[in-house]
Amino acid sequence: MTLQNTSKHIMVAILVTMLTSTTMLAYLPMAEAAKVRACDTNASPKGVAAASSTEVWLANDGGTLQKFTSLASNCNKTSYTVNGDPHFIDRSSSTKITYTNHVSDKITYFDPSTSTKVDCTNASIDGPDDIVSYDSNTQFSTAYNSGKIIKTVKGASSCTVTAYTVPGTSPNPEGIDTSPDVSGMFFVDQNNKKLYKIAASTGTITLVRDLTLDTVYNPWFVADSNDNGNFVWITFRDAGILRAYATASGALVETSPSLGTGNNVFDIAVISQGVPIVTWYQDPKVSKYDYGTDTWTTHDWNTECNGCDGFGIDTISSGTYYAALRSLSGTSKIVTGSF
């Protein structure tokens, strides 16, 4: 009897241990996806460009750039006053930071090692918005008001500007992203609701898909799946959804569930396996869309940035993200987390 009871107790103890371990094991994957840090920024942060956790750039439209140098462990940063209104930003090397000035109609190259700028100006650079590097020497931007795609190449003290006219009636190009699939970029025309590709070498623009057949909502930003399958994501801000289109054919291949009214899916980046992560436009939130299970996972940063709005987002390949959260009444933040 005693041995039997002892065995029972041991077995129960083992069972409890195993169940506890199992429960903990079950929650481990969730523990990996976490908010990590929120750091103060200058006012009105917009675009984000991340090279690594030790070099994350932030464009503040009050006229500064900020470089965060150790976001994995602290909020150390260096600020650079550049004037203008830095909007979206890209980083092609440690000495070549490029950003659009949305209101002051410039595309600027900034070298932090010397704190020097080279401004690109041209009549076609009207309302420049999103920007991406095709390679380290060549950047492409969307000029919303002029309806052009702008190619810029930095020289020693000036830059070469080439403007490509977006087809259609009164186009307003918005989001743009590089895609190796098409040796160029994908971008959207918000006014005519079109997805186009542009060849980097020739500037030839080709229609991929007319989005009016799929939705009444405006397309905003674009993110290529980065060799994780040939598809490109588009955010439809006011519908709170994402759609994926095949890069070879333009076929619609995926539609996310909606995050709901007012949950404005805005800027977008892609982590491993082409999984998209987005900022919300009217809330301090960052979400990941798992297209395998059709589910959203959300990091809510309202405690760290009360009442803030989301704006730019960028990521490094591991799934770590960096996002700008704007506050109209308090301190704006750059936040980092991992999905």
């Binding site: 009636t169 009214t261 297209y291």
Partner: protein, 230 residues
């Protein structure tokens, strides 16, 4: 003692099963998710072509095509979304109101007839810039498009699309309608799914003359089925 051993063995087996089950429970969804993720990539890689058709245009509403009766499947009306200029919302509502209706029918040969009719429901003319139809599989994959009207068409840009019958803006006076339709049976071989669902979309504006790049004329889109939020 024997009973104790039996209990220990059976409990151990139960634990092993529980552990195996738990391991499976923890890992299977992840593996499935990965497989699903790869599937999307594979789908995108596999679907290298689309079926882009030229729709037929009729400058009116229609109830039948080739003697095949059409049934209304969905209807959308634009209203408040047009408040995008400096004019009053009432004027805009009256001037820019449009209705888009999707009809379907099945011919004696089993082929589908799908039509999209847009009607100017406002009080002044507008300019129809595009009227198209898209087809979807049950899983939401869309490889089929067809245009009756597209003012933005150019062969250099619309490389993989046939020239629509009408490639200039169509003026629709109040009460006037125009219809695009397609006829056939479509299947997406790459995913082994038939095209069973359809939508239609149109783009239009008031002004086509006098557009400048400094002051783009707003365009409005209407889609059926209506995908706007409540």
């Amino acid at each position: 003692m024997k009973q104790g051993k039996k209990l220990a063995i059976s409990t151990t087996v139960a634990i092993m099963i529980a552990v195996a089950g738990a391991y499976y429970a923890v890992n299977i969804p992840k593996e499935n998710a990965t497989a699903e993720n790869i599937t999307l990539g594979q789908i995108a890689n596999t679907i290298k072509t689309t079926t882009n058709l030229k729709a037929t245009v009729i400058q009116d509403k229609i109830n039948s095509i080739d003697g095949v009766a059409l049934t209304e499947e969905a209807r959308s009306t634009n209203s408040g979304t047009l408040e995008r200029t400096e004019e009053t919302s009432k004027e805009i509502f009256e001037r820019g109101q449009a209705e888009l209706v999707l009809h379907r029918g099945i011919g004696p040969d089993g082929n589908e007839y799908v039509s999209a009719t847009i009607t100017n429901m406002g009080t002044s003319q507008f300019y129809l810039l595009s009227l198209g139809i898209a087809g979807y599989t049950k899983s939401g994959i869309s490889t089929l498009t067809a245009y009756g009207v597209n003012a933005d068409y150019s062969p250099d840009v619309w490389v993989s699309y046939p020239e629509p019958p009408i490639t200039k803006p169509v003026i629709l006076k109040p009460g006037e309608s125009i219809t695009s339709y397609i006829n056939g049976k479509w299947y997406v071989n790459e995913v082994e799914e038939p095209i069973t669902d359809f939508s239609a979309g149109a783009l239009y504006g008031y002004e086509v003359q006098g557009i400048t790049t400094d002051q783009p004329t707003p365009h409005w889109s209407i889609r059926v089925p209506d995908d706007s939020l409540p």
